[in-house]
C-alpha cells in the first residue's frame, strides 16, 4: 500500500474508527433470518393477490400505449430542438464560466457550442430556480441553476428514450438538495466552532414532458406537490424538511423518507392522468445484488465467443477521431493541467493516443492510448475535464493472444455511475472488431440499438429500468457477447 493509500485510510479511520466488537449477536441474526422468512411468505401471498387484482383491472382497460401517445402528444418540441426561449448571452456565458469551477464534480459538462434554452424561472421561499435545456448530440439535457445548490444539477436523456417513450413525463433529476447558510445556535457554535452552517431548505425534481401535458404533480408518502410546467418541462420544489438528529448529534434539516418523491403524475387538458415512478435517491442497490435475477429474452451464443479486445486500427495506429495531447487539455479549460498532463503522458510512456466521440455532439469522449510496452489503455473523458476517468489497461499479451482477461470480454466497459437523484446511468466503452452492432435489452422488454463509431459506444440507462443486457452481434448476425450492462 502506497503512502498515499495510507493517507486515505487514516482519514477514513479517523472519521469512522474500527468499533470495539461489542454488540455481536449471532443468535439475533438467526432470529431475524427466521422472522424474515415468515414475513417473506406473507408478502409473497399479498403480492399474488395484488397482482391478480391489477391484472384484472388492466385486462378490463383499453390498451394504454396509443391512447397516451394521442392524448398527451409526443416529445416533438424537444426533438425539434426548440423548447422555451433562447438564453441570454449573459446566461450562456455564466454557465460556460461556471463549468471550470464545477467540472470536477459533474459528469455532465456543458458541451462547447451547445445553445442554452431558458425553460422555467421561478422563486420559492426566497430561492430562485432557473431551469435551462440544451441538446448535446443525441442527448437532451436539463440544467438547474440555483444559488442553493452545492453541485451542478444536470442530467440528460438519450434521444431514443424520447422517440420511444410511451409515458408523457420523464424525470431527469430527483430530489436535488438545495441549501441555505444559516447562523448556528450557540450550543452548536460551542461544539463545532462554526458560526454558520448549511441547512437543507428544499429539494428539487425536474424533467421533460410531452407537448400535451398541462400539469405535473409530485407524490411523496406524505404529500402531493404541485409542479410548475412550462416549455415542455417541469420543476417540482419540495419545501418542507424534517428536523432530525444527524450522526454528529446536532439538529440538521434533511430530506425525510416520507418527503422523497416517489412518482409524478402528468395531466393533459382533458384531465387524463398518467403516473410515472421515479428512481429515488440511493436506488442503485434496490434492484441489484440479491434481488431477483434479470428476466428477459434468452440469447443463444455463437460457437466461438469473442474474448479479448482486438481493434485493428489502433494496432495500425490509424489516426481515428481527434488527437489527444497536452494541448487538448490546455485548450479545454484547465491551463494548470499543462505540466501535469505532460508528466502524465511521459511517465506512462504513451506512444499513441486518440480521442473518440461515439456521439459526436454529446458530452462523452473516450481516450485511447497505446503504451511503449504495447499495453492498450482506455478512459472516459469529457471535453472540458482535466482527468481521464475510469482508466483501464489491457496488457499486450492479452490483446495479441486473445486469452480471456478478467477486464475484457467482447468489450471494455467504462461505465459511469452518476450522482444520487440522476435518473440515468451513462456507460461508454470500446468493442472488439468482431462486433458489428449492439442492442440494449431492458427487463421490461424494451430494446434499443447502441451506436458504434470507431469501435466506441455510449448509452444511457434509466435508473428505473437499469437491469439491462447489452448484446453484441457479429456481421453474420450471430450473438458474440452478452453483458449484464
Amino acid at each position: 500500500m502506497s503512502s498515499f493509500d495510507k493517507k486515505i485510510t487514516s482519514v477514513l479511520v479517523r472519521t469512522v474508527p474500527l468499533p470495539t466488537g461489542a454488540g455481536r449477536d449471532w443468535e439475533d441474526v438467526l432470529a431475524r433470518a427466521e422472522v424474515s422468512t415468515r414475513t417473506e411468505r406473507t408478502r409473497r401471498l399479498l403480492y399474488s393477490v395484488a397482482f391478480a387484482a391489477v391484472l384484472a383491472v388492466v385486462l378490463a382497460a383499453t390498451p394504454l400505449g396509443a391512447v397516451i401517445a394521442h392524448g398527451f402528444g409526443d416529445f416533438s418540441e424537444w426533438l425539434s430542438g426548440k423548447p422555451g426561449q433562447p438564453a441570454s448571452v449573459a446566461e450562456q456565458k455564466t454557465i460556460e464560466r461556471g463549468e471550470r469551477r464545477l467540472a470536477r464534480y459533474s459528469w455532465t459538462t456543458f458541451p462547447k457550442g451547445a445553445k442554452l434554452r431558458r425553460l422555467i424561472t421561478v422563486t420559492r421561499d426566497g430561492i430562485e430556480y432557473k431551469l435551462f435545456g440544451y441538446r448535446a448530440g443525441d442527448m437532451f439535457c436539463l440544467r438547474l441553476s440555483t444559488p442553493g445548490a452545492l453541485l451542478p444539477y444536470a442530467s440528460c436523456a438519450p434521444k431514443s428514450e424520447l422517440t420511444r417513450r410511451m409515458k408523457p413525463a420523464l424525470a431527469l433529476y430527483v430530489d436535488a438538495p438545495v441549501f441555505e447558510r444559516e447562523k448556528t445556535d450557540w450550543t452548536t457554535e460551542l461544539m463545532t466552532g462554526q458560526k454558520t452552517q448549511l441547512v437543507r431548505k428544499a429539494s428539487v425534481t425536474f424533467g421533460i414532458v410531452s407537448d400535451g401535458v398541462t400539469s405535473v404533480r409530485g407524490l411523496t408518502r406524505s404529500s402531493i406537490l404541485e409542479g410548475i410546467v412550462a416549455a415542455d418541462s417541469f420543476l417540482i420544489v419540495t419545501p418542507r424538511h424534517e428536523k432530525i438528529k444527524s450522526n454528529l448529534q446536532r439538529p440538521r434539516e434533511t430530506l425525510g423518507f416520507k418527503q422523497r418523491l416517489r412518482s409524478i403524475v402528468a395531466s393533459d387538458a382533458a384531465g387524463d392522468k398518467v403516473k410515472t415512478w421515479v428512481a429515488g435517491v440511493d436506488n442503485e442497490y434496490a434492484t441489484g445484488a440479491l434481488a431477483a435475477p434479470l428476466s428477459g429474452p434468452k440469447f443463444r451464443m455463437a460457437k466461438r465467443q469473442v474474448t479479448g479486445v482486438k481493434i485493428a486500427w489502433l494496432e495500425r495506429r490509424e489516426p481515428r477521431g481527434t488527437p489527444l495531447s497536452p494541448l487538448f487539455w490546455l485548450t479545454n479549460g484547465f491551463p494548470q493541467c499543462g505540466l501535469e498532463c505532460k508528466v502524465y503522458l511521459e511517465t506512462h510512456d504513451v506512444v499513441f493516443s486518440r480521442q473518440l466521440a461515439p456521439d459526436p455532439g454529446g458530452v462523452v469522449r473516450i481516450a485511447v492510448s497505446l503504451r511503449r510496452n504495447g499495453d492498450a489503455c482506455f478512459a472516459v473523458a469529457f471535453p472540458r475535464r482535466i482527468f481521464w476517468l475510469n482508466e483501464t489497461c489491457i496488457p499486450k499479451q492479452d490483446l495479441s493472444s486473445w486469452s480471456r482477461s478478467e477486464a475484457s470480454t467482447f468489450h471494455v466497459s467504462l461505465g459511469m455511475d452518476v450522482s444520487n437523484g440522476n435518473q440515468y446511468y451513462i456507460r461508454a466503452g470500446l468493442v472488439d472488431d468482431h462486433v458489428r452492432r449492439m442492442t440494449l435489452f431492458f427487463s421490461s422488454g424494451k430494446q434499443t440499438p447502441v451506436v458504434i463509431r470507431d469501435n466506441a459506444y455510449v448509452y444511457g440507462v434509466p435508473a428505473t429500468d437499469d437491469r439491462v443486457r447489452l448484446v453484441a452481434f457479429n456481421s453474420a448476425n450471430r450473438v458474440v457477447g452478452v453483458d449484464a450492462g
Binding site: V13, T20, A33, I244, N247, W388, E406
Partner: protein, 164 residues
Amino acid sequence: MTKGAGLEEIEELYRSRYRYFVQVARAVVGDEASAHDAVQDGFSQAIRKRGSFRADGPLEAWVWRAILNSALSVRRRSGVFGPFELAPEPATSDPRSEDEEIRAWIAALPERQRLAVFLRHYADLDYRAIAAALGVEVGTVSATLNAAHAALRHSISTPEEVSP
C-alpha cells in the same frame, strides 16, 4: 449452477470480520446502532439466500454485497446522511485542510465508487473481492479506484504530484 454456502461458514465470517462489517456500514448509515442493525439484517438476508451462493467468487464478497444492500436500505429509511454524504464546509474562509479535502473528495464520488473506496480502505478487500461485492468487473474496480485516486491527488495537490 449453485453451490450454496454453509451456515457455519457464514457464522465464521460473522465472528471473524464483524467489526469491519460494522465499520463500513457505519460509513454508509452514520451511527453505530444503525450500522449494527444493518449488519444483523445483512447477515440474516445472507442466511436466507445462502442456497443461491454460486461459489464463483469468495463467500465474503457475497456477504459484503448483502451487508451493503442492507446498509443502503437502512439509510434510505432513516433519511440520515452518512459521514461522507456531504462535503464538509470549511469553518472559515481559509482553505480546507487535507483531511477535509479527502472527505470532500469522497463525498463527491458517485455512490458505487464511494463504496469501492470503503471496501478497499476499511475492509482491505482486494480488487476481485470488491468487484464481486459490487457486482462489477475487476477492471472496473481497478479503473474506478485509480481514477478516484488521481482526482484526489490533484485536489490536494501534494508537492510530489506536481513536480516533474
